[in-house]
Symmetry: D2
Amino acid sequence: MSLTPQRTEPLSHEELYLFDTMGFVKIPNFLSRADAESCRTELLDFPSRLMEGRGDKERFDDLVVRSKNFRDLAESEAMRGFVDPVVNQPYRLIESYALRRESQSVFYLHNGNSEVLTYGEGRSVQRNMSFSHTFHDGKLFCMFIKVLVYLTDVREPDDGPFCYLQGSHKANYPWFADPDSSGRAPALTKENFPSLDHVRAEAGDAIVLNEALLHGTLPKESQGERILMAFSYAPAFVTDWKEIDLRSPSIDKLGHY
Amino acid sequence: MSLTPQRTEPLSHEELYLFDTMGFVKIPNFLSRADAESCRTELLDFPSRLMEGRGDKERFDDLVVRSKNFRDLAESEAMRGFVDPVVNQPYRLIESYALRRESQSVFYLHNGNSEVLTYGEGRSVQRNMSFSHTFHDGKLFCMFIKVLVYLTDVREPDDGPFCYLQGSHKANYPWFADPDSSGRAPALTKENFPSLDHVRAEAGDAIVLNEALLHGTLPKESQGERILMAFSYAPAFVTDWKEIDLRSPSIDKLGHY
Amino acid sequence: MSLTPQRTEPLSHEELYLFDTMGFVKIPNFLSRADAESCRTELLDFPSRLMEGRGDKERFDDLVVRSKNFRDLAESEAMRGFVDPVVNQPYRLIESYALRRESQSVFYLHNGNSEVLTYGEGRSVQRNMSFSHTFHDGKLFCMFIKVLVYLTDVREPDDGPFCYLQGSHKANYPWFADPDSSGRAPALTKENFPSLDHVRAEAGDAIVLNEALLHGTLPKESQGERILMAFSYAPAFVTDWKEIDLRSPSIDKLGHY
Amino acid sequence: MSLTPQRTEPLSHEELYLFDTMGFVKIPNFLSRADAESCRTELLDFPSRLMEGRGDKERFDDLVVRSKNFRDLAESEAMRGFVDPVVNQPYRLIESYALRRESQSVFYLHNGNSEVLTYGEGRSVQRNMSFSHTFHDGKLFCMFIKVLVYLTDVREPDDGPFCYLQGSHKANYPWFADPDSSGRAPALTKENFPSLDHVRAEAGDAIVLNEALLHGTLPKESQGERILMAFSYAPAFVTDWKEIDLRSPSIDKLGHY
């Protein structure tokens, strides 16, 4: 197998506008359906683990380590054409993985430009610098970009499509004023979240995502598998993605939060 | 030996204003002169290397690895009181070193908020995200903070004091339009740099520095030693300081630029 | 007649989040349907003029001058509760008018945070300071706010609802790269504008609008009247709304552009 | 008399850098000493008034109305070359005046990017939008620019030179936490204001000033007259400079604050 991106041009001016204003841009037919299916087949043979939390997501780590096909894709000119114009720095791949879900799964809203981050001993701020971003002289500078590649169709709202709050990647306020209330998280509906929107996608489509967006997925209620790959890029001074202990005062800790 | 910072309060409102508007703030008498001298004596026994470039600076790396005294200082409440209010994130120490210089040495102007960064194949941008910084809701968020601790006096202009261009940590334009001209660098004078300013310091004084400032030192012309320690802090997702190859297209490269 | 706003609380935290991230927030039932109808009846007796351009909009100027009812509304605590938290300056009313349209009318997309402004002799910039806005320490500072009050229902897409490009009030790029192409303006469809969205409203509803949003209305194809009032507020140093000659080099000209 | 500016080039890249980072830039020899003296002679015949407050400044209003010489200067290509590149909007002259002072006079620090503004009934914010400014795609957008033209020499600190706090035009914090304490204003010394700096000027020199800078003059202790002209420019939607009642809730009030 060798993957052949169907779309090799860098982001256009119109796509950059959409990425800048919406926090993401969808690239239809990044891979052919045949390539998407061969990705799916290959990675299902990799070891996987159940993600913590709801226990409804199976994660396949380190795709680029396990297969030259995925490595070549992560390094391809096609992929660079998405990352170059939104990072605009020397950059690196900080993680590559796949997520597989079935019915009755959800990925709740997370990130957001000004949500409350608590850490250390009672410290509380409204900025997570690991996905900060800015603009200068015609160029975007994003600290954390994810390229999602769909390997199955997510056509209907009950297929668990990507969802987000409009404009939340540039929000000045937090939506969730009390982060500890996340245990009693309100359902992902228009009533609870008037600016909630979602994006349909088909196998082979890609989404280039600014991680500052407050995003997740609607609940997947339909039968069948939902599987996608994620390739995360960051400026070269950012370490591989790994979670740190937010409460630790250690000045050695290395990782994300 | 055990070091006892003379100043243990966190940055005051007035000091935060100075740090925010000037890009640095001087903390007089952070260490006693006796402690500064004991630091100097201890670290001169460590291994050192001549820095590349002009070959006029001797660098002692990894202070906190070599001595519990330096580690304790880097972790002290006193030091945290400088770093906490300007980083406002879970953070880590990304380097600790000392620099020793004698007469006829200089540290030319470097960094700056909008200086030209060239990398890869002819790419050119005006932002280095490794020292980006922002402000939100009463808090500063700096990506790269250095605490300089003077171990000798730098009283006169010819002692090679810390120098900087006023307001350059928030510059929207580059000062050095052509970065390749740095070989023919203009002398550090008021004529060449109308907004150039410098800071006198004595043994035991500290400077808390936003690395976005376009800064360096005036030439040291006087006799005698100039030696200081530097402790660099960054958000926890930032790797230890190490230089990458700016031209490499590798997506594995890890480090600063 | 005397108008009694049904909603008198200032914008809530949730409404401020929506205004900040979407560029507007809808206030259902600001006026009762009966009050909306009495506004409509009263103002239709005022003098009006056909607006330039497409000639499909009838404009009634200076509502607050013509009737104490409208003046009281513009000055009401209810209205101030929308304006105070998004202007956060001493402010004034710079215009008050109504727009009446029938079938086959449209209000094309205008404004936007970074659209191209040409003026003088060939000068071209990507910012119109008359609707600039910023955020500082928990507060929004908008230069130009409009409160739209619907006097008839706009329920279906063919009723000509308010439309906008998501996130365009904070866009860093222009959508319309060539402003002179506006004569051949592309139709207001999802195909031409992937981030286009619209808002349904009923008589008595209000929309609090940040004028930096790239906004307009979908074409009205349905029969019947579409009529709304607009009250514009700005910081007190801004003059009454009036259009200047963009090409004039005069340093006396006073007005908007 | 007819004035002939000695300097007619628009601001250079270096001058724009200085203006951006320092909040002002000095233009030596904008007028010849002879022209400066003829300005002084002409305007001293105009009516004047004692300014409120300390009563130590004599103000001559509406220079451009009283004399074609001043009008021509305000409209000259030379002056436009300072204003165009820092306003970057259709603009107008909102005031023109001269200030004359003698010994024992001072102009205390005022403005600043984040000083506390109180207005209305107990409202308090940290932004005055009448001198807000931003940067986009290589261009500065200032809401209020003043060009000061010196008509006498201000060579020594006791001549009452222009003074400012470094970087205060981009401050995120207020320096004066309690604005009501301004009655007991601390003396303008380095001890009270560590980032205080001042600028010497000679007759004919000009200073192009971003009004967001926290600025004033050092006390004039020396004998003799200190006199300068000021020309203020703003985007065309800004009214002529006039002071409003900050406490008034009127939505008709028009003016500055």
